[in-house]
């Protein structure tokens, strides 16, 4: 029967099925005004932040130019004074956007029980969870990169370094992958809609400010905080240093949380 229906071979079929699912999810997010609202919102807020940092940079540049030669002020840098804080602010914005996207992608689909359709169509639990992670990432990555047009404009007016800028983008996308995997894990762990949104936002916020624990608590006993803080791990990448250990950290933890999501979904739908 499968031959008569023109079905593909097993591996190719699995790949095509997953591509179809991911494409459908990404398209679904852009089909409704949801995608447009999010991108406009992010663009407006990031634009606001960008011009704040640009104004601060101009002030510092004016101070530098006005400073006496005998006691020169520190020369401001386009990368460390505009691009780095801008990318950090953008990552903070994404922290709130990721759970909203998962609310629509995972929780709403499960509320409407459309996941039954997908599972019955032959998508395994593992493929389902992975495809949700990939879909959210593919939707959010352009959304995160779009506001980078602001710092790109600096290349017309100034002379920022290109490679550190590229490394900052890699850092932002790595942090986004971690946010997506952790948030999807929380959504699969707490299937109740609303609760998962709150929990996911809370967990991401906690993770974002995790490194502050080191300041509050005894620094010598909590040395490991910096090892597990995504913000501290992302900082070298943001500032233009291509740190492999940071990249391994993001890849490792992203895979770990995706695996956690698979386990949670499996537990619920085991057969």
């Amino acid at each position: 029967m499968m031959e008569s229906l023109g079905k593909s071979s097993s591996f190719r079929r699995t790949v095509l099925r997953n591509v179809a699912l991911i494409w459908h999810d990404v398209r679904r997010l852009w089909l409704t005004p949801f995608g447009a609202f999010l991108s406009v919102g992010i663009l407006l807020l990031s634009g606001f932040f960008f011009f704040q940092y640009l104004s601060a940079y101009n002030l510092r540049l004016a101070e530098f130019l006005a400073s006496p030669i005998s006691q020169p002020a520190k020369r401001p840098s386009l990368h460390s004074d505009i691009i780095v804080p801008f990318v950090e602010a953008l990552s903070f914005l994404l922290l709130f956007v990721v759970p909203i996207v998962h609310q629509r992608l995972i929780a709403d689909e499960r509320k409407d029980r459309n996941d039954d359709l997908v599972v019955l169509a032959g998508i395994s639990n593992r493929q389902y969870v992975c495809s949700k992670f990939v879909s959210s990432y593919l939707f959010l990555a352009p959304l995160a990169c779009f506001p980078l047009l602001f710092p790109v404009s600096l290349f017309w007016f100034g002379n920022p370094e290109f490679l550190p800028f590229l490394t900052s983008i890699i850092g932002l996308l790595s942090l986004l992958a971690l946010f997506c995997s952790l948030s999807s894990f929380v959504f699969f762990l707490f299937p109740v809609r609303g609760i998962s949104l709150v929990m996911s936002t809370f967990v991401l916020l906690f993770l974002y400010f995790f490194h502050s624990l080191k300041n509050i608590l005894e620094p010598s006993s909590f040395w490991w905080v910096s090892e597990f803080s995504p913000v501290l791990q992302a900082r070298p990448l943001f500032s233009g240093v291509l740190s492999l250990s940071s990249l391994y950290f993001f890849i490792g933890f992203s895979l770990l949380f995706v695996f956690g999501g698979v386990l949670s979904f499996d537990r619920e739908r085991s057969l």
């Binding site: 229906l5 079905k7 409407d112 998508i123 739908r269």
Partner: protein, 271 residues
């Protein structure tokens, strides 16, 4: 009415699906208690029971959306867990509230499901044409699923279930939202499927609905199969048999409870 007597052209006698002592509890309540029955190729079986009898849970167990607490489900003699992908490729399931992606048009929704099923473009086009014809959907193929009436949603759900030419079809109260004309169309569709030797399990709490299109009626009560009836044109006789099967249980349990409260032995235990 006479359509149920149309004999399938190529009915085989082997058992396609065998349920053995299926049990399922949800929220510590026993929903399905030791359900056993056989389905042969081309069978048209009605699951008949009062509200809350366990029909939907039974269908969700049969369609592998729920895992039984105990018992076995054998597909062509093999445990479905051993051949899950093949089994899911062989079944179609229509839920009582048809699950659709509301932001997609009917065509987009069906195309997506076809791709998930691994259908390639040419075959997919052909199958879409076939289900448009079967379910009379040509007029609404470009309308958003979210804007469809309940009857049309049910038809799109049915088209989704038929898209990959399943050999087992599980329909959960499919005629509930249909008007009389659509019901007649639905009956004709079921007889067409029977001619193609598709095994159909059709649940309803309305005797007339299932007696017209099914040859065999399984009466479910409190998660147990209490009667296995052959459908006849004599609706009154069927009604009598159905109520005899259902109320005898109720009488027994009520009688037992009343007598235990009064301190007298229940009927049948006095001797």
């Amino acid at each position: 009415m006479g359509e149920k007597n149309v004999a399938p052209a190529n009915v085989h006698t082997e058992v396609v699906l065998k349920a053995k002592e299926l049990r399922k509890s949800l929220n510590e309540k026993h929903i399905v208690r030791g359900l056993s029955f056989d389905l042969r190729q081309g069978d048209s079986v009605g699951l008949l029971g009062l509200n809350g009898a366990g029909k939907t849970t039974t269908l969700r167990l049969l369609s592998t959306l729920l895992e039984p607490d105990s018992g076995e489900l054998l597909f062509n003699g093999i445990d479905v867990r051993q051949c899950l992908q093949l089994y899911r490729d062989s079944i179609g399931y229509l839920a009582d509230d048809a699950r659709l992606y509301n932001e997609c048009t009917v065509e987009e929704h069906l195309t997506f499901l076809g791709k998930l099923r691994g259908l390639r473009s040419g075959a997919l086009r052909r199958e879409l044409e076939r289900v448009y014809e079967l379910c009379d959907l040509r007029a609404v193929h470009s309308i958003l699923c979210g804007n469809l009436s309940r009857g049309f949603r049910q038809r799109v759900g049915l088209a989704s279930a038929l898209l990959h030419r399943p050999i087992l079809l599980f329909l959960d109260e499919p005629a509930g939202a249909l008007d009389p004309q659509q019901r007649e169309h639905f009956r004709r569709l079921l007889s067409t499927l029977r001619r193609e030797a598709v095994t159909v399990v059709h649940s309803s709490h309305i005797l007339q609905d299932v007696s017209v299109c099914c040859e065999r009626l399984l009466v479910i009560d409190e998660g147990e199969c209490v009667a296995d009836l052959r459908s006849t044109d004599d609706l009154q006789e069927l009604e009598k048999q159905f109520f005899a099967a259902v109320t005898s249980r109720e009488d027994r349990s009520q009688n037992f409870t009343v007598r235990v409260r009064r301190g007298t032995p229940p009927r049948g235990m006095a001797a």
